[in-house]
Symmetry: D2
Subunit: 357 residues, 4 copies
């Protein structure tokens, strides 16, 4: 049995490059040879033991690769084809999928819904920080990379770009909207880019790290607010003459950003939440207009599936959005422990790393 | 100057029938002679001093009446016509209205939005628990009562029915949905009726008062859950084989109902909140899937305007929904203090009272 | 190799019961033993040679049955389970499916869309007017029949009910809408029932056959218009005081019904078209307000997939709609040629036939 | 009584600058001193007698100006303020407005809807090709011009930009869509710009005039197709590998463009029609998939109202879209007959003219 290298969760604090068998290919699967992948903030939560996964699991959910082998029931693809798959790999056939909620896929449950059910890579099945990864339900999930796009150009599509854009989409951004984005890490940056792509004409980004605020201006923001200079919700209300914003996107996962986002809304505005929270949230009575503000709070888990990936790659191919500057550091798979160390400690202005396998 | 009787807020604990001048009619107004009105739960909050209004204000926001006099710039109506107006009386011309958010009308603000801005009757201007009421922006707000409908048949349209139905509408109820409604007071009952009207095929209503659960079965619920018999969210998950509901409607305004509603949702489900809260809300981390459940929380303030009223009256006229049984007690305007006493103490199985002026 | 009886298209004018091999079961398929099926208007078009299919094809796309055998890659079902499958059997994994357009599934095409692609039974693969039928992509398509529902109760779900309801859904029917339905054959009857289920408060049905108009009143219509008594669009405008209807549903597929539906609309109204047309359509300039009426014309092909079937069966199970009276005649599979003869000639007040296999 | 100069429709073939009284200001009106206006293709239809208006009517529906006088019931504005008003001036209070269909405003009709009802300037009331124009329902319609924007920068907002953008909005353009726009006159150019602003990543524009194709590339198109080089629908299908486009926008008003747009659609695609047609339209059976293609045909009349104008001006102010290059020629009001002559004959590469009053 052939072996491959894979970044494996051993115990809290330790993700280690190990040798594992190259997996067998089931009828609906495809085996990818990974050419490039990356590390996500969620992987750091796993590393720290904050998000529990099985010991021995291969981590990683953002694969760019080449089809090595197709399952016996898979058609429409060729071995050798360059593809990506989303971080979320829905089956396509659950009741959740058939309702359009592919991220909550519960194939196998009697009712067809399961919380986070579509997130399998590096969560419930082996992920892609490895030489090879098995893609389940391949026909639903493999998307061919258009000619002319490099691995790094499409590396953000599987997760960061899909999630960030979903923040704008679930928020229902319309032409002429004013949008505030709270936190300008990779997801918040993509949310600002997505809001701009959908026609928002005034995008106010909130962070404090100078490099992020600079990148924010490059990717989409019209104005930036340093939350260390004062209450950002108050600043935003002043900037909008007391009106508030149409859509506020939360892209961090804390009480502070959630609450500021809520307080920034105009009556009838929408809070689109992308963050992964780690404790209960509080909705202040006044910020919520006692329930009478015609407000919406929406949450989004990264949309996956091949059609989503196709569309995101077309955004890149069209030149409308250029996310390559987000890749600030490059490593090989052999150096992945070093990459985790850099990324987990957010050293050296890191935004995203590229791991060439 | 002629005088009229009006129920006036004097101080916390006292709403008193007083004599006041019949108001002058501005160019865009209409003066109604009120024939029937009612008391709302919100009025009780005002009575108790929990919701502050100016001393001397006439209370009441659910008018059925006859046009006594039209403003000089008002066309399209006739004096003597039987009409209703919604609890919310939008101007029609604010930016909020032009966005479709008539309840947050901010006519007069530079940006056109104001929280609760559309709620004027018995809040920022004199209301309709009186012999006469001045309807602002009459052309936007007066809706002719179809022939053959009695005052009591349309008495719920201005507020309770519009609010309850909005719970189902904002929740996006679809054919075949399972919907839970938390609390079966007047608004919750209307929410259940609205969910049924939109095609929900399984409606689970939660309360504990036997008369309300009985009325609930009459108006829309397929099943009722007594929350005193155990955790209602747990019961609902069991009833749905672990799936949860598509839409949960909160119709009371407490942490308990809000949280139970959230815990009842399927992944991707919507919590439609109608309650008026009186303290901060807590979103438990697990009930919120840490922000990754593709859930929506939406709040609705009673939709107003003449087109809304026309549609609600057409529901009544068609016989699809019959809300008359909700009127459990009848009073004259002279007896309104007695009516407040009964309603505020929820004595004698009262659901809604009719006040004939 | 075992044999079964199947109604096969031989040549225009001849659909004949023949003996064919029971099909082999591929990894993603399920073999159903058909217990009840029916004949659709589309099958009559096939019989007459108006819609071309391959000679030797088994006809029929509305199966109620029992799982006989599951493909090797199919999970979540058991042999012996009572199920239905929709007339449209999407793969779940094409780009069209991932966009929510399961009826235009183009699995296998490079771009994932194909006109009518989701319609396979009795069109591009063998159908269900047979003792056995092979259901492709079984995990996307098989829906368990709830306990207590008979075959005839769910027999309309696969096509007629799904199509008719889609007329109301695609039309965007809202609470308080006035809806006109043109033609009250099986699909038009279901469209009226669907419009009622979604909250339309005035439903005007147009036909001329007395039995149909009677059934129409039973299933949903508030008023019926006999198109032989005068121009139905004119009548409808009069009935609505010159306003027109919010939604007009076309359920026949002729220039006359299409044009009358268009002429019945209020400014800004929606024409929801369900008919299968057999010639070019003309849009009269005046009926279309020269393109300035803010109108929508939407067409719908029967939605399929197991979630759709689950929802439709829940409508039946809830008692909200009862379509059993639409089954006017009953046959066995051995009598299917006789059933075609009756149905194709619309003799004896036939609405739908049930074929017990 | 003071007099002003106004371009008046005298008879087919003659729009003439005449002297007329400056109108009186009713309670809900505002009198604008027009500073800049333009001529629309519709005005040319009026000139030619193809669209009938009353003799003596002042033409023009795209005003930029300064508030000269406010009606007695108008608040929220100041005399001397720079404003625009949309080509469509809804009342805000009709049932159509309250449904969100402001362009079909039927204030004054019993039911509140009237075809094209919102279009009043230069159609049912005097327009703005004059020194002064009376704006009806001023509080619904006057939008303050943001500081720093010139008259010419906002001159396209009242009609061309609002209409063109509505083509993309009504088409439901999404991130990653492929959009075809048929004809690249002023409205088609704005439609392409609007589609780009909403996230379309491949925009294919069809025309034949080289200057228009060049402007098209500047404003939004990724690719241009010269319809004289072959069937544009065929070309578009080839460019999209047989898939077709998600949204096709018709921006001329002919059978040819309408039919090509329909033939360009993918299954499930949307035809968004902006053109003003002058004869019946034909829907070819095959282009319409016999009614089974899950297609939508939507028409849009220019959205108006102050909130729409505010949003469009914010697009300009943000620099997202720059329509100034569309103003190819400049005239004074005294030269307006000359301007009509140039524009009606489409001489000298004219796209839009600016008329300084």
């Amino acid at each position: 049995m052939s072996k491959m290298k894979a970044a494996v969760f051993v115990e809290p604090g330790r993700i280690v490059l190990e040798s594992k068998p190259i997996p067998d290919v089931g009828p609906l699967d495809a085996l990818l040879r990974v050419t490039t992948t990356t590390i996500c903030g969620t992987d750091v939560h796993i590393l720290r033991g904050e998000y529990p996964v099985a010991k021995g699991l291969t981590i990683g959910h953002e694969p760019v690769g080449v089809i090595e082998k197709l399952g016996s029931a898979v058609s429409g693809y060729e071995e050798g084809q360059r593809v990506i798959a989303g971080a979320i790999t829905p089956s396509g056939h659950s009741n959740a999928c058939l309702c359009g909620q592919h991220s909550q896929d519960g194939a196998g449950t009697p009712h067809g819904f399961r919380p986070l059910g579509g997130w399998r890579f590096g969560n419930t099945i082996d992920g892609c920080q490895a030489e090879y990864v098995l893609v389940p339900d391949a026909m639903t999930n493999l998307a061919a990379v258009p000619e002319g796009l490099t691995d790094e150009q499409v590396l953000m599509c599987p997760d960061i770009m899909s999630t960030g854009f979903a923040g704008a989409e679930s928020g229902g951004v319309k032409i002429g909207d004013t949008v505030a984005v709270f936190a300008q890490g990779p997801i918040g940056l993509c949310a600002a880019a997505g809001a701009r792509l959908m026609g928002a004409t005034r995008i106010i980004a909130v962070d404090t790290v100078p490099e992020r605020l600079k990148m924010s201006r490059f990717l989409g923001a019209d104005e930036v607010v340093d939350f260390k200079s004062g209450d950002p919700a108050k600043t935003i209300r002043e900037l909008t003459d007391g009106r508030g914003v149409d859509v506020a996107i939360e892209a961090l996962g804390t009480q502070g950003t959630f609450e500021s986002a809520l307080r920034s809304l105009r009556p009838g505005g929408t809070l689109s939440s992308l963050g992964v929270y780690s404790s209960d949230l509080r909705i202040p009575l006044d910020a919520f207009a006692a329930g009478l503000g015609d407000n919406r709070i929406v949450t989004s888990l990264c949309p996956g599936g091949k059609e989503r990936m196709r569309r995101l790659m077309s955004v890149i191919a069209s030149g409308r959005v250029d996310l390559k500057p987000m890749v600030t550091h490059r490593f090989t798979l052999d150096q992945i422990e070093e990459a985790y160390d850099l990324f987990a400690h957010q050293r050296d202005g890191v935004l995203k790393v590229a791991i060439a396998a």
